[in-house]
């Protein structure tokens, strides 16, 4: 019984939140890694692309809500999501046409493209703040919980409750579907294969008649979709605030690099590694240990390794450890 209670507490405060957060990070990191693989630069504007996509979705959700549209137990944002993706795709395609294409033709060094993406980051950041403002916005609606803590206690008769929020369930389900679709696309379709070929060896891909502009355009569309989905899921789960999305850049980059830049599988693994380390290291373990330890050995403190404000430090330390001991990441990404 004690062990079961400990397990439930663990699942409630660590396993489920970390899984949802890991799924969100993975989706974000997939976008970064795709850009890195095909366009060969680290896109600093990715966090703000996520913010832009989420903003469009939020605005549309509000409009739909004002019309009285709803998906019943599911958040209305899901209805708005496809439009959000489409608008974001148009924006990133426009950015590519207006900004990045020039440097691609010039064969500029990757670091120049990174600086260019800094400029794009400024513009997108300003745009989002200009349109929706810098404040916290919440746009989640529908049923709040799949399982509430009270129902769970009644069902099992345990002392501890397990709550699964709709947004957490939704995040995990959506992430699985999106990742499955992405891998099917990359591995099974002609276009996906041409993308991977382009990523592996650009010259060879060009020789075999792959149209680089088409590959780039499809990459941007995929990135827009991934970024918007990741952003909307994160926003539903927590809340939407432009600055938080900018700060997500660090754990997302950490996930992509830990997994190995350019490797989609690595991005997913990296996302979960970062999410689980952040949550386990900043969680106060007292509640779990109280059930596991004999009474006289129970901890007096919170047993929290680091305060939650240091969660960036966690992703950073993992990043540094991986870079020092395995510079190409867990899944052997590229290194230029």
């Amino acid at each position: 019984m004690e062990i079961l209670n400990a397990l439930v507490v663990f699942a409630n405060f660590v396993l489920i939140p970390a899984t949802a957060y890991g799924a969100q990070l993975s989706l974000g990191a997939l976008g970064v890694t795709l850009i890195y693989g095909v366009l060969r630069f680290s896109n600093f504007a990715h966090g703000d692309t996520m913010a832009f996509g989420t903003m469009v979705t939020v605005l549309l959700t509000w409009w739909l809500q004002s019309l009285g549209a709803s998906l019943g137990p599911l958040p209305t944002a899901l209805l708005a999501l496809p439009v959000g993706i489409a608008v974001t795709a148009l924006l990133v395609l426009g950015t590519d046409r207006a900004v990045y294409r020039f440097y691609r033709r010039e064969k500029a060094k990757p670091v120049i493209l990174v600086i260019v993406s800094m400029g794009v980051m400024f513009i997108m950041n300003g745009l989002v703040r200009f349109i929706i403002g810098p404040d916290d916005r919440s746009f989640a609606d529908g049923e709040r919980f799949i399982v509430t803590a009270r129902d769970f206690k009644q069902m099992t008769g345990l002392d501890e409750g397990l709550a699964i929020r709709t947004t957490q369930g939704l995040t995990i389900v959506t992430a699985v579907i999106v990742v499955a679709a992405l891998f099917w696309f990359l591995n099974r379709t002609r276009t996906g294969k041409s993308m991977r070929a382009f990523s592996d060896n650009e010259d060879l891909a060009l020789l075999s008649g792959i149209n680089p502009e088409r590959v780039v355009a499809i990459t941007w569309i995929l990135v827009a979709a991934l970024a918007t989905i990741a952003g909307v899921l994160y926003g539903l789960d927590k809340s939407f605030k432009p600055f938080t999305y900018f700060q997500l850049l660090l754990p997302i980059f950490a996930s992509a690099i830990v997994g190995g830049l350019g490797s989609p599988l690595g991005a997913i693994a990296g996302g979960f590694v970062i999410a689980f380390s952040e949550v386990t290291i900043t969680y106060a373990w007292k509640k779990v240990l109280v059930y596991l330890m004999p009474e006289n050995l129970e901890p007096t403190g919170l047993v929290q390794l680091l305060s939650t404000d240091y969660k960036f430090a966690v992703s950073f330390v993992i990043l540094v450890i991986v870079l020092l001991f395995r510079p190409t990441g867990l899944f052997r990404g590229k290194s230029v």
Binding site: F41, S42, V99, F102, P110, V111, I112, V114, I115, V116, M118, G119, V120, M121, F122, I123, M124, N125, G126, L127, R129, F130, I131, G133, P134, F243, F246, Q247, L249, L250, F253, A254, I257, L261, L305, S307, D309, Y310, F312, A313, S315, F316, L319, V320, L323, L324, P327, S335, V336
Partner: protein, 432 residues
């Protein structure tokens, strides 16, 4: 400097003087002072990027460390807090250092294999637990001492001007640690690593109340220049102000700002002189040779890694120096106000727009971009007023547009950066 460069500087000077004449001299001097500090930050980033091609996006962290330097040097010590837990906190920190050093020794001395990994991890875990056991009670004791006014260890109570080099040294120390771990990696990784370290520095400043009072802010840093109130009470000053025909209150604020401007200008001129000497010496040529072709430079017997570390530390130290100067100018350390867009990426815009690789370019960029950063807002408000003048009063769109003017500056900076990168990638004053 060529004639064209001098003209560009004259143009920026005209912009600032124009602000003084049209808007207010207080604003103009405010822009000048922060412009001087921004120019110093830009010099630091230019050293790393322009001379050596190192991509540091952690400027904010080094600037904040400089600000911490100002607190540690200039604030009066809190005797009670030192008595309550000063020694214990010191011992805890030493323990932390010993456990990290020990882990490094284990890693380098022991034979490869699982034994080594296990030993290091075990050592680190024991070290961490001991560190927390010693350190935590000390922190609680220090933070319990009069939390509303102090709740931290305070500083050394030395003159604040001394904090400028100390801020530089703090930043240099951090740069040494980062450089040692991250400089061997490729450019993108260095960028992410510095981005991360900057966030961590800010997180530490926000949370370690015993050190920096955290989000409670340290206010009232001592000043190197007279206080306005004292000036207004000094008969000689009031008489002199009235003799030139300025209201004594305005005169006192202007005088204080001019004093700061004088101090900052001395530092900036000294740094420009040193950087120009360095850039045009064999050392500077070697740096650029390494930047342009690392392999060739290495083949010529240059120690690329050591030189990178050197220039990384130098540039970061300059950013730290500027950070301490900024804390001095503000008279406070507010960890919550450090934003990467403002303190990292804006400095980058300055360097790129001014001209990377050219010290004068970086300085010009510092002044120009800071001027724009301040002035875009009132100008944007003016444009927005004009654009919305046709709309009905009270329409939500009009209200929203007028409210959002504040965010125009990010947009403008992005557009400027992209335009310069596209049409004049070497900046206003290119490297020569």
């Amino acid at each position: 400097m060529t004639k064209r460069d001098a003209l560009l500087f004259a143009f920026v000077a005209l912009l600032i003087v124009g602000t003084g004449a049209l808007q207010s001299w207080n604003t103009a001097l405010g822009i000048l002072n922060m412009g001087l500090i921004s120019a110093i930050m830009a010099l630091g980033v230019n050293m790393q990027w322009g001379y050596a091609g190192l991509f540091n996006v952690g400027v904010m962290g080094f600037v904040a460390l400089g600000g911490l330097g100002a607190v540690i040097v200039a604030m009066p010590p809190v005797g009670e807090a030192w008595a309550a837990g000063g020694l214990r906190a010191g011992a805890g920190l030493m323990m932390g250092l010993v456990s990290i050093a020990g882990a490094i020794v284990i890693w380098t001395r022991m034979a490869r294999g699982w034994g080594r990994t296990g030993a290091m991890v075990a050592w680190l875990i024991v070290g961490f637990v001991l560190f927390r056991a010693v350190f935590d009670p000390a922190v609680d004791a220090i933070e319990a001492v009069n939390p509303a006014a102090t709740g931290y260890l305070g500083g050394l109570g030395l003159p604040i001007l001394l904090s400028w080099p100390v801020g530089g040294l703090l930043a240099a120390g951090a740069a040494w640690v980062i450089g040692k771990t991250a400089l061997g990696l490729r450019s993108d990784y260095l960028a992410i690593a510095t981005l991360g370290i900057a966030e961590i520095v800010i997180a530490i400043l926000k949370n370690e109340d015993w050190l920096s009072r955290g989000v409670k802010n340290v206010i009232g840093l001592p000043r190197p220049v007279p206080y306005e109130v004292d000036l207004q009470q000094s008969a000689g000053f009031v008489a002199r102000a009235e003799s030139i025909g300025i209201d004594p209150v305005t005169a006192s604020t202007l005088f204080v700002k001019l004093c700061y401007a004088g101090l900052f200008a001395v530092v900036l001129l000294g740094l420009i002189w040193l950087s120009e000497k360095a850039l045009n010496s064999p050392w500077g040529r070697m740096m650029r040779a390494i930047r342009d072709n690392e392999v060739a430079a290495e083949a010529m017997g240059k120690n690329v890694k050591a030189r990178h570390l050197q220039v990384f530390i130098l540039g970061s130290a300059i950013c730290g120096l500027a950070g301490a100067m900024m804390a001095t100018l503000d008279g406070q350390l507010t960890p919550g106000s450090y934003q990467p867009l403002r303190f990292t990426f804006l400095i980058w815009v300055m360097v790129i727009v001014g001209g990377s690789g050219n010290n004068w370019g970086a300085v010009l960029g510092g002044f120009l971009i800071w001027f724009l950063w301040v002035e875009v807002e009132p100008f944007g408000a003016f444009v927005m007023d004009l654009a919305t003048s046709g709309m009905a009063d009270g329409s939500p769109l009009k209200a929203h547009l007028l409210d959002s003017v504040a965010h125009m500056r990010l947009l403008t900076m992005g557009v400027i950066l992209l335009l310069v990168l596209r049409f004049s990638p070497r900046g206003l004053i290119p490297e020569r």
